[in-house]
Symmetry: C2
Subunit: 264 residues, 2 copies
């Protein structure tokens, strides 16, 4: 069940002058930590596997085969096995993987064994929704700080956290040990906010603003861009209908107004 069909693999872009490549650090002989390769594409999938695994745990399942886990995660089983072998997992041939053990291994690899304080900047429409979403804290990402520039918002409390002025980003993030910053501001404010976060020591940023953020090497930026997603879907719609207007039975002039398509 749940065999997926058209999900896309990851993509990347962003970051001027350096595209990412991998995730391992350019380590210098650190005797302590064995250098692990773990491809970026694999990391993203591990999070998906983890979701399925926790679900299986709740169901009390003891083991899973790569085939089943892969199907539930919407990927090829060979890919899943390779992903798991990369993080040093060990399944049992002829049996499968131990659910609880694998869950622990994936969590450890993703660094989920301890919480990561998050700072959310921009409590507008989307930001407010994100702050109000309880899933953050539950999944190990406590929202330690909220920021905005709007005087009407600064001072208010959302989900138990007070909104502070963006000018306090530096001091507050450093003081509360924020390691992940979420930018949900309008595009023009994103870069300055990003700079402030980086200056405060934040090395991982999730950007919801429709703009490309420039960051120094060593800072990881992931982007969630609604416009891009919609436009990619638009491309597919256009592909399947060609250029001819969709000839669906009974269009009968319903809703869709003929506006101009200005994507900006």
């Amino acid at each position: 069940m749940t065999v997926d069909r058209g999900t896309r693999p990851s993509r990347r872009a962003v970051s001027p002058t350096r595209s990412s490549g991998e995730v391992r650090g350019p380590g210098d002989a650190t005797a302590d930590d064995a250098a692990r390769p773990v491809p970026g594409a694999t990391v993203a999938r591990l999070a998906v596997y983890l979701r399925v695994l926790t679900s299986l745990l709740d169901q009390g399942r003891g083991t899973v085969s790569s085939e089943e886990l892969a199907a539930a995660a919407g990927v090829n089983s060979a890919k899943l096995r390779k992903d798991l072998s990369l993080i040093g997992s060990s399944g049992v041939r002829g049996v499968g993987y131990d659910v609880s053990r694998l869950t622990a291994e994936v969590e450890a690899t993703l660094g989920l064994t301890r919480p990561h304080a998050v700072a959310l900047v921009g409590v507008g429409n989307l930001g407010h929704a994100l702050a109000g979403y309880g899933g953050f804290a539950q999944r190990g990402f406590p929202v330690a700080a909220l920021f905005d520039v709007d005087p009407d918002l600064v001072g208010t409390t959302i989900a138990g956290v007070e909104v502070e002025h963006v000018d306090a980003i530096g001091a507050v993030c450093a003081a509360r040990g924020v390691t992940i910053g979420v930018v949900a501001t309008p595009a023009p404010a994103a870069q300055p906010v990003c700079d402030a976060l980086v200056a405060a020591g934040v090395r991982s940023i999730l950007n919801f603003a429709p703009t490309v953020l420039a960051v120094p090497a060593g800072v990881e930026v992931r982007k969630v861009d609604l416009a891009v997603e919609m436009q990619v879907l638009s491309f597919h719609v256009a592909r399947r209908h060609g250029t001819v207007p969709a000839a669906r039975p009974s269009p009968s002039t319903a809703g869709a107004a003929p506006r101009e398509a200005v994507t900006r």
Copy 2:
């Protein structure tokens, strides 16, 4: 041009695996479109280029070099030129690309020359924020319908659109010519909702629910998964503890940012 490529059998009648690859399309040639492959990775970047281009248009810029456009989009200039050559663009050597013309070409490729009616299902925390976000309509994606199961929400109006019961998805989407569906429901409701959308003829879906959607071949699903994004960042935070803090002037490899996914 186009065609040839002896290595690709391109036809996989049996294989159910079609995910990702590319998005080739039987073009219809309306003005400048010939049947072209257009890699999936390229499509996603075109949307980013478009944003920069419209910005340049507003500034009254007449031309841009691949170097400048690439820098603003956060990509390598060679990649940008290759992307543009794939959609059949034509810059002028020694000069650059005509901003308005290129903008039109990119919009045409992405199918943005006409609006795509969108149906948003799930008007909860996130869904409400999305519905309230005016960017949709402005960018050519008018929200033609809103759905939810909550009796308290059904009947209310958000941003000028009435919220209807999910049971009406089939009828309403077909009647209003919805081509893109946005799923912002809790995980358990996502699959049924997805099925309803597909049954209504929707072939492109943006999924914000933290679950893998199973869809028949021909339906494109893109996922925005907040949990995955946060966990990938967590991985990077954890990584940083094993490597040398600083003292590294040389960049060599740095983080990249896979685009894609996640929510809730």
